[in-house]
Amino acid sequence: MNAIKGFVLKTISFVTGEDFWRGIVAIIVFLLFWETGSRSQSWFGVAFPWVSQVPAPTAVLQEMYRLIQDPSFWHSAYLSTLRVTEGFLAAMVIGIPLGLAMAVSKTFYGISFPVFEVLRPIPPLAWVPAAIIFWPTQELSIAFVTFLGAFFTIVINVIGGAQAIDVRYFQAARSMGSSTWDIFRRIILPGTLPSIVVGATVGIGITWAVVVAAEMISGGGSAGSVGGAAGGGLGFFIWNSYVGGSYTQIVAGMISIGMAGYLSSAILRKIGEWMTPWLAEG
């Protein structure tokens, strides 16, 4: 009950706040500029540079309205979401324990960190050809590249977070009789949690960027063949729109990726807030 009241009050104060209206006005001005720009040829007889090439927002909106009734669009969105989820979850499942192990054990850190640091700067997309060769199916290749996108960010955040835990917490815990396992469970894990949340939120954003690019590169070629789900996805959808010359569809596809990325970050942030209540203000 209180939570609902709090939410309502927060929403009201947000909607009546200056920031909210500033944001609304900014978006409206941006859309007006865009609409005017892209229709400049027909309205003023002069094509504005760059923006005149872009489909107008109203046209994009119309296209999006059409797309949300189109099952094949939803199938593309589903495929990309699935890959993001797989890659992201794998990155969490492997990255968190690995990061913790690296932060906790000096020996393990000494062995694995140099390797990690050499691999980390390689852009995930540079892995695409190798991934296609290494993995038996295209689906796995894409999922692997997606995984890499989130993996390094998560690991780096976990290591940083765990190492930044104040030594006084360990001293205090030890002097109260904590065992090593107890310290790990009740000091290191919760102490690292805020950094895990940050790593996950940033990581899933990268995951969307990577999955779309990987889908474009690997193409939809194998759709229908073995591992039938391979290919497709929003990246391929955009690429296909480009090949087919449907520019409104390109922009609509772009916007839906932006929204998907925003939504997944927002969901993770909410889960993060729920898991780290001590960071809430007030």
Partner: protein, 296 residues
Amino acid sequence: MQQMTQLSSLAASKPLSVGSEIKVNNVSKSYGADNFAKEVVHNCSFTIDRGKLTVMIGPSGCGKSTLIRLVAGFERPTSGTITIDDKPVTGPGVDRLVVFQETALFPWMTTYDNIMYGPRARNEDTAEMRGFAETLLQKVGLSAFRKKYPSQLSGGMQRRAELARSMINKPNVMILDEPFRGLDAMTKKLMQEYYANLYNEFRRTTFFVTTDIDEAIYLADRILIMTNIPTRVRAVIDVNLPRPRQVENVVESDEANAIKMQALGLLHEEAMKSFARGSKAAADFIDAYSKRVGKQ
């Protein structure tokens, strides 16, 4: 046995005193390599009696925290020995609990979970312990704040929660390093009262470091006055004021004032020595205390 009787006569209101006895014998501590070694503690000896509250007071930077780390077992002396119940200290132990100046409550745990940390760590989450936690919450005035996280508590509340978190473990020795430093005057006075009540109730051997002479007299059974760096005990003053004490009574009592004058004189001398050597810390110290003495 002889010691027990001696104790009970002093602690008239609560004869039961528990905890260990700490002996510091000819302890020296230097930092740095041989030729550049800086001696911080020099040939220092003192005893902290069982169940007594011993307050160490000395000029800032003289080496008090160093002595605390030695007794706590976080560091080893360069020479000399420290024993607890005649057993040499070789490292940190569950029998000793240290409360530092900066709060070290776990930010991710509520007040209650922080207090229950020790019992749970030792698999003692029993009804008895939970009851004790309730008592302590009440004693430090935090019952209504049990579900709050440290970041939602004021500085004084955090210190109180930390005291409760230490107390619940019933350590044989409580070690407190300037636990109320940096709190405003009002909060500090309140904290001293809360703390004195806790001590009166649970009587553990306590090693309490401060730079505040009023705090020392209000709390102590015995005051150790330390010399400047390299530090050792300059004088031992027993404070035989009856417990429970009231801050106001202590301020007004002749005995307290006599102790205060004596202690300030000694501290002043120590400060002057290092002032002659050009120490900024000592200059600040003299400044602060001349103001205090001037107010008398």
